[in-house]
Amino acid sequence: MSGKREGEPSAEPAFGDIPKPGANSSRLLSFQRTNKPLDSNEKNHHIPKTNMTTTHRPLTEQELATLTSQGCQCDDWSAVQVADGFLAERVRHATFSGEIRLGRNEGSVRCEGGVERRCGIDHAHLHNVTLGDNVRVANIGVHLANYDVGSGTTIENVGLLETRPGACFGNGVEIEPLNEGGGREVILFNRLDSQFAHLLCLHRYRTGLTDALVAMAKAEAAKVVSDRGTIGRGARLMNVKSIIDVCLGDAVIVDGAASLLDGTVLSSPDAPTLIGTDVQAENFIIAEGSKVTGGAMVSKSFVGQGCQIGRQFSSEGSVFFANCEGFHGEACSVFAGPYTVTHHKSTLLIAGYFSFYNAGSGTNQSNHLYKLGPVHEGKLERGCKTGSFSYMMWPCRVGPFSVVLGKHTRTFDTSDFPFSYIEASPEGRCMLTPGFNFTTVGTVRDGAKWPARDRRQGDVRRDRLCFDVLSPLTVGRMIRGSERMKELQEKTDRAVETVTIGGAEMKRVMLRSAQKTYRTAINLYLLEQVVARLEDAGQKGGASPAEALAVSPKAVLDEQWVDIGGQLLPKARLDALCEAVEKEGANGFDTLCRLLDEAFDHYAEDQWAWVCWAYERVHGEQLAALDQPALVKLVDDWAKTKEKFLKLVLLDAGKEFDPVVQTGFGQDGTGEDAGADFSAVRGTLEGNSFVNKVNDEIAGVAGHAEAIKKLL
């Protein structure tokens, strides 16, 4: 035995180079919270490969005698070859057929509960199989056929494990997210990421791009077609009924799954993937670090990195990207962008596009009006929540960071009104209150929690994610929304109680106050960006304020920004990217990845160009033209705006401790006991960690502003 623990993945690559962990380049900056993917060339490493390099030799007569004496059978023993270090006495009751290659097997593997079990083969029929070193294969009900199995792997109590000729392993499967009626098909392949899927699914108006993306997806899918499947190094397959046409990555754990058919489970030692009890999956790809457990049913679906699917959740025709969570409920034809979360029974997500989303219990939508079929679709832009038993009749489009409450039976589009509360009237009409969600504790906490809860581990992170709550996307929408509300306010008589905007109804008096809220949000963002620049330049030294505020010549300026599957970028940059990719056709996948990575890298520059443009539009003066006194005033304005914002957040937090929400506390006690019970359970406003953090921030704003002014 070697010094390393048996059963663990070998340090020597048997299936190709595996990058070392810790090489990821994620970055979290206070003003640019983004998560950077690796270079596209590095993104292919966890995809199971089938080339094994160990040298094998024919069996010796002694080995053959041992094998036959231990109940092993084979019609043609010359087709069975072994590596040096192979111990025939560790192979019992095995039947071999086809080409067989067996590695060293002198070690042991560590199973559940820390039990060490000897490597070897026991009660199994192997057909056209290559086993790496120190593999344990035991109790295979039917057979293990047409597989290359990596070193240190355990396969035990598996009914059937086979690859059929021309298997695609879930690659090339065409699914219908967003529109159940079709027309937005996404083709699954191992390197699929949220940006690619977004463009393929949603940009059908760019026919050239769609053709190119389809060709790329098919080309990528074709690369994995094989008559042989792969089970990676250090994998553990236990108590599984059947696995057919499935590739399994390094360190994957498949424990108790019912049936896996036509799929790939990407996995790596630093981001192992778990497929758990009673899972049924067909036509699927599940990516690194995900957990699909608890009787989940996954059909024609892509589960991205760091996802958790379980507790009988069922998914059909859906894609889930980084860090999604699906429990109990159902997803049908869903495009679940990063951080789409649904935890409750009775929650049906159907024919919708979501990202950074949280579904309340009983959330439901309709895509079928019993006319031409299930052809309707809806979009909840990033950061939305839906309240318990909220319902939307598609088509609808909800602007970013909005909360949807009640039963909506009318179509509306609030995309220019981020941070809204969207309630339903008793008649099912949409009642819009723009900006109401901007200063809520929930929004502030969400913004902080997403980057902190990125479960993707290891070196490969495919989806390009920008976490910023305030960005050119949301702030640009608020600028547009303000202009629309101003225009409506000016032309509406004061006797009018409600106005209609984007198909939603809005109290006329709110037109003015919503503009005020948006003004605060826009200012907060713009001033914060400027102040951050000034502070950064001042701390580094050497750059004058004018230099610090200069726009990079590499930046792309576009008034309109887009959110493609969690990545924010100027529309002009996306347009250029799409044109370049269209020209390359089927060979353009690496180009697409490179250009998306470049766009990601230029986020800060592009954002700053937009800030300069927006500042001039909002304030009527150029940032570059501001002299020192004007900059000092700007810093003061920032401090005031920031303090005002934080105090409103505190006010919202205070509602969580209001006597009204203490209702029901103090069971069987007196009125005084209610307060004591509440404090014991929920704590106090003064002792709340979030509140204290905000208070500390408020206390520090003035000093921070003074420090920045000294740098000017």
């Binding site: 106050s513 005002k644 009204v660």
Partner: protein, 79 residues
């Protein structure tokens, strides 16, 4: 002026919360007595701003709990 402001405040409250003016007194608490939800609090501020053509600080305004204190708050803005 006090009575005039108070009358207008009561009218705004009645219109916004869709309740009868007779139910509203200076002592009426917006949440507990008049059933105002948090969204309606914001709506009330917007309605007061329009009625009296003033710009209220949202944080201070949301701290106002009764009709009477709302009247006093608005009177300070009008002074």
């Amino acid at each position: 002026m006090a009575n005039d402001v108070q009358d207008r405040v009561i009218k705004v409250v009645a219109r916004t919360l869709k309740i009868d003016e007779s139910r509203i007194t200076p002592e009426s608490r917006f949440v507990e007595d008049l059933g105002a939800e948090s969204m309606q609090g914001v709506e009330l501020i917007a309605a007061f701003e329009e009625e009296f053509d003033i710009d209220m600080d949202e944080q201070e305004a949301l701290d106002v709990k009764t009709v009477g204190t709302a009247t006093a708050f608005i009177e300070r803005h009008l002074d």
